[in-house]
Amino acid sequence: MGHVTIFSGAFGSGKTEIALNFALERAGQSKYNKVLLADLDTANPYFVARDARDMLEAKGEKISIIAPVRELAQADVPNLPVEIIGLLRTDNEMVIDLAGDKFGALVLGYISGHIRARENYDMYLVINPFRPFSSSLDEVMELSNLLERAGKIKFTGIISNPNLVEETTADLIKEGHRRVVGFATKLKIPVAYLAVESKHYQELYPEYGSSLKQIKLFLRPDWIRGF
Amino acid sequence: MKKVFQKPESLTDAKNHYCPGCSHGIIHRLVAECMDEMNIREKTIGVCPVGCSVLAYDYFNCDMLEAAHGRAPAIATAIKRLLPDRFLFTYQGDGDLASIGMAEIVHASARGEKITVIFVNNTLYGMTGGQMAPTTLLGQVTTTSPYGRKAENEGYPMKMAELLSSNEGSAYICRTAVNNPANINRTKRAIKKALQVQEKGLGFSMVEVLSACPTNWGLSPLDGMKWIEDNMIPYYPLGEFKVKEEQ
């Protein structure tokens, strides 16, 4: 059975961008025909993985985005793609992008039985310590407990994603990452990797080495930069 | 000789605009007497409706607001939440409370808002000239039910006290009438109890008062009182429907 990788975290933690990057990375390596990226963000259809669908398909990437059907893709109804359960029971490599907070927990609770039935899965908690409700240990613990309880799945790793989008600096990443490592130690969950935009990769590589992963932003509009 | 009956301090000196024999004047006075007796005039904020009592802010001698039609419970909710030690009452008619303001009253009750609602049921829209209300009795002729209200066409009169008493948030729900001195005194006791329930923070309280609208009923004031007795009370039974005790 192919690996299932679940990305979870607070609203706006960056999990969708990270899931897209992860799926693309796997698409190059996976033995499966296509990596399935399940977009389960039922909370709010602004800036969701399905927005990148056409672009990825056009580029011929080995990725298939499982998301609500087209006319519902822009609706704010909880439209879990119907095929998700079936796909979880067949042999695929899957990347699952959950909604933030309680919405994500609800969806996870619904499908977790099928995930646990598979032997190899990872569930990551994406943390940006510069976001409200995930800037302190108490808040991160509350979120982690909520998601683990509802989903009946334990986190296997934390993805550190400290950033202030366009205003991110190397020093800011370092400071944020220190905080995330602090949370991870208290939560007794290992840090899987530190995600940074490509432009910071070279500068930070000497310090973080292979625990660093560079990501590209797919959903952020260009026009927001510089003004 | 000592004074045994006089204008309560919680009413202003303004002459009310109500028709001769209209029950609003009596009910205003009962609310005000309770405010006097509980010494809460300076802590009370009232919200009046759209309806004949739209000008009630001129008559109550306390802070008052005039609400949009039906919305008094929403307004009172916010004030009470922001100023929890004040007394809030809404004063609403049957069109205001049971028709256009149905959602507001049901949800204020469901939330257990610690406010007191004075619900004046006179079976029709008095202000606009006697149109059918949710509480208009079967067979009753109004300007918009000229052949008498029929269940097949206009449905059944709504029993708001019974309906709201099913809400867990309702702490005190009572129906009274003002058709004779004994019932007027009972109404006053009910209003006072409702305000005391609010004071104890037990939840939502409402007194539905069966009242006369002699003008739109086309009756003399005295016949209006009899009409309450003969036609309203049989359909709208008097009594306490919900009394939540202190824990």
Partner: protein, 71 residues
């Protein structure tokens, strides 16, 4: 000597007559010789000597016309 006494703010009276009807002693009646500022014949204690000061007239009055005193 009457035990009670009623005082009227006659300019508030709308002559609905409820006080007259409910007065147990038949003390009250309309003052046919007066028209108040509202245009009505206001009420009057036609038989003041019978008043017991029970205040029922005040209780049923919608217009705050009446004050009642008692011994």
């Amino acid at each position: 000597m009457a035990k009670g006494r009623v005082k009227f703010f006659t300019d508030r009276c709308k002559a609905c007559g409820l006080c007259i009807e409910f007065c147990p002693q038949d003390v009250l009646g309309f003052d046919e010789h007066t028209i108040n500022t509202l245009g009505y014949h206001p009420i009057k204690d036609l038989k003041p000597e019978l008043c017991t000061g029970c205040a029922i007239c005040g209780v049923v009055c919608p217009d705050l016309v009446i004050e009642v005193e008692r011994e």
